[in-house]
């Protein structure tokens, strides 16, 4: 029910004491401010302002039961009556459980969680879950990183890899994909180690890797302690390239924190829009706008898709011309817009990722180089440099 004069309420439930969520909220705020500055959203023939109602769910913190996070979601829904929800970074379990909640209350939502079962769950009952959308997808990462590996194989003749991952479904999933890729492409995978969240000593992996003469250490991590992995890599002078996804090394500030210890690390940014890509102006524009409004981005991934999420949602509302959830959901499905992560469109209620920002959303791979620069190296459509061997291999 779109009452006159009342703003459109965007609910943002997330665990704001994680930097992904904190920066995500800033990105959302940025988008909302931009839109409001332009006069708001046109709903039917009325211009409405946007308003953010955020709530702390604490779900990224340890020891927090599911019920607590869900109750926060419900409180938001019942008391703040949001018209739409942009769910910031969330624990997979919480997103999956919250989908039922959003379905029950019929609230169009775009979520930003790694829940790999999202699509399965959506497809299990597309009618019921028609209001839920997701912006993240790990599937394309393997393809991207695979290409990077192929490149290294071509340039330097690397063909021995070691896989280390955080023991979480999404990370292991990616690693399994990568493992298969290696096997299919004639690489030798020396070892495959999983570390539980919170582990802080990775020496055994590194020793084994060194002994086996591995050239590439492939890793997927998003816990803070994974920075240690890289430090140990440097301390122990392991002669191998570090490639994969390590979130503490993602943001531009990582260089100040870790110094030249991280030089040579190859990292993938799931959502390319967070890098100031010279070759894709919308990304650079978002980066600059964010920096102007909030200062340096702490985290190196996630905010861009949140930002895009707001625009996608607003677009759907304008097209629907009303705040009716079903209509918005319908229009969301049809989204096709230029976002800072690439061209945003949904398949099975999920962003489609590819290799060219003009066609799909993209992930970007970059390498840390001397002087603390993140040089994009993949995909070719945005690459600004080439892969270099780290010091320990020279």
């Amino acid at each position: 029910p779109a009452e006159k004069g009342k703003p459109i309420v965007i609910g943002v439930p997330s665990s704001f004491k994680s930097i992904e969520a904190a920066d995500g909220l800033k990105a959302i705020t940025l988008a909302v401010e931009e839109i409001n500055a332009k006069g708001g959203v046109k709903v039917g023939n009325e211009k409405k302002m946007l308003k953010i109602e955020s709530i702390e769910t604490r779900d990224m913190e340890p020891g927090v039961p599911l019920a607590d996070a869900l109750l926060a979601n419900e409180k938001l829904i019942l008391e703040k009556k949001p018209n739409v929800i942009i769910q910031g970074p969330t624990r997979s379990e919480v997103l999956l459980a919250a989908m039922d909640l959003y379905a029950q209350y019929k609230i169009p939502s775009i979520n930003n969680a790694v829940a790999s079962k999202f699509v399965d769950k959506y497809l299990s009952n597309p009618e019921k879950y028609r209001h839920c959308f997701r912006m993240f997808d790990g599937k394309y990462v393997v393809a991207g990183l695979g290409d990077v590996m192929a490149k290294m194989n071509k340039d330097y003749g690397f063909k021995k890899a070691y896989i280390v991952v955080q023991d979480a479904i999404w990370a292991v999933g990616i690693a399994n994909g990568m493992n298969a890729w290696y096997k299919n492409n004639g690489w030798e995978v020396v070892g495959f180690d999983k570390y539980p969240t919170g582990a802080s000593d990775f020496s055994s992996t590194l020793i084994k890797a060194k002994q086996a003469g591995v050239q590439v250490i492939f890793c997927i991590f998003d816990m803070p302690q994974s920075g240690i992995l890289v430090q140990q890599w440097k301390d122990m002078k392991i002669p191998a390239v570090f490639a994969g996804f390590i979130s503490p090394l993602m943001g531009s500030k990582a260089w100040t924190t870790f110094g030249d210890k991280i030089e040579g690390v190859i990292n993938i940014c799931f959502d390319g829009g967070n890098l100031p890509l010279e070759k894709y102006p919308p990304a650079k524009k978002f980066y600059e706008a964010y920096k102007k409004r909030w200062g340096e981005m702490q985290v190196g991934h996630k905010p861009a898709v949140d930002y895009d999420g707001v625009y996608a949602m607003v677009g759907a509302i304008e097209r629907a011309g009303s705040l009716d959830p079903d209509k918005i959901a319908k229009e969301l499905e049809k989204t096709n817009m230029v976002g800072c992560t690439g061209r945003i469109h949904f398949k099975d209620h999920q962003y489609v990722f590819g290799v060219d920002p003009k066609i799909d959303a993209i992930s970007a791979v970059y390498q840390w180089k001397k002087g603390g620069k993140r040089v994009p190296i993949f995909p070719d459509s945005i690459a600004e440099g080439v892969i270099e061997k780290p010091a320990s291999m020279k």
Partner: protein
């Protein structure tokens, strides 16, 4: 492997010592251990990065501050709860949460909170490169353990500590003031804890969540060792430390946190009061 197992064990021991000494002495299970640990680290960070103090000054200050907080916690909170074990646990745990979540609320999350190592660089031991910081930790751990052992078993204050832990009223009737002693024990425990933080945290990032893990680790080590024994802490730390490394080496690194817990279960089932504990026998003596 041997080398890293050793280092890992010493780290565990350092983490557990603070908890062990407080519990061993005043029978206060200090569940704010994790909070103190992180607080020690973050204070050092603050002094170092934000105030630009020299490293050792800032570390020393933060250790002292944490020590004082420990003592004050006893004076203000715990004196009133002596003997009500669960109330003590809940009260200290809440304090720990207050510290941790306050830090989190004030913005301690992310990756910039990181203390630099004392001396950068690494050396080769048995063909394995080891960061100098780790070597410092091992040395400090050894010294600390030695000091502690001498202190507890051979100084008057240490003996008084042990007395109070076992029979408060008897200790009182021979002239030991349990409140003073317990306060001191809390201060000491907190100092140990902060010291461990100052030494160990440069190896990683200061993260609030780790505060909770630290507590569990400390508990596990103390329980396996038997609550009243410093030697027990040492042995238990080595058992867990090596088992962790061995599991991640030969079984699967994903099990590193399960196996120590499982081994703790097994040990307790075989020796119901820890490796060096005798409390069960004493309690059951009829």
């Amino acid at each position: 492997m041997l080398v890293y197992g050793f280092i890992n064990s010493v780290i565990l021991m350092m983490i557990a010592l603070g908890f062990s000494i407080t519990f061993g002495i005043s029978r206060v299970a200090n569940f704010s251990h994790g909070g103190f640990y992180i607080l020690g680290g973050i204070l050092t960070w603050y002094g170092l990065i934000k105030l630009g103090l020299p490293y050792f000054l800032s570390a020393g200050l933060s250790i002292i501050i944490v020590g004082i907080i420990g003592a004050v916690m006893y004076r203000v909170v715990l004196v009133r709860l002596r003997g009500l074990e669960l109330s003590e646990v809940i009260a200290t745990f809440s304090l720990g949460i207050v510290i941790l979540e306050l830090l989190r609320g004030l913005g301690v999350f992310g990756y910039e909170f990181r203390n630099p190592v004392f001396i950068d660089g690494s050396v080769e031991i048995f063909g394995v490169g080891v960061g100098i910081q780790r070597i410092i930790i091992v040395c400090a751990g050894a010294v600390l353990l030695l000091i502690l052992h001498v202190f507890v078993h051979h100084t008057k204050m240490g003996l008084a500590f042990r007395g109070v832990a076992q029979q408060e009223h008897t200790a009182l009737s021979v002239g030991i003031n349990p409140d003073q002693v317990s306060m001191l024990s809390l201060a000491m425990g907190s100092i140990m804890c902060a010291l461990a933080a100052v030494l160990i945290l440069p190896l990683g990032v200061i993260s609030v969540d780790e505060g909770y893990d630290i507590l569990i680790k400390a508990l596990a080590v103390c329980i396996i060792g038997g609550l009243e024994s410093t030697l027990g802490v040492l042995v238990a730390a080595f058992i867990i430390g090596y088992i962790e490394v061995l599991t991640s080496m030969y079984i699967s690194s994903s099990l590193t946190s399960v196996i120590p817990l499982a081994c703790m279960l097994v040990i307790l089932l075989i020796r119901p009061s820890g490796i060096f504990g005798k409390s069960k026998e004493i309690e059951e003596r009829v």
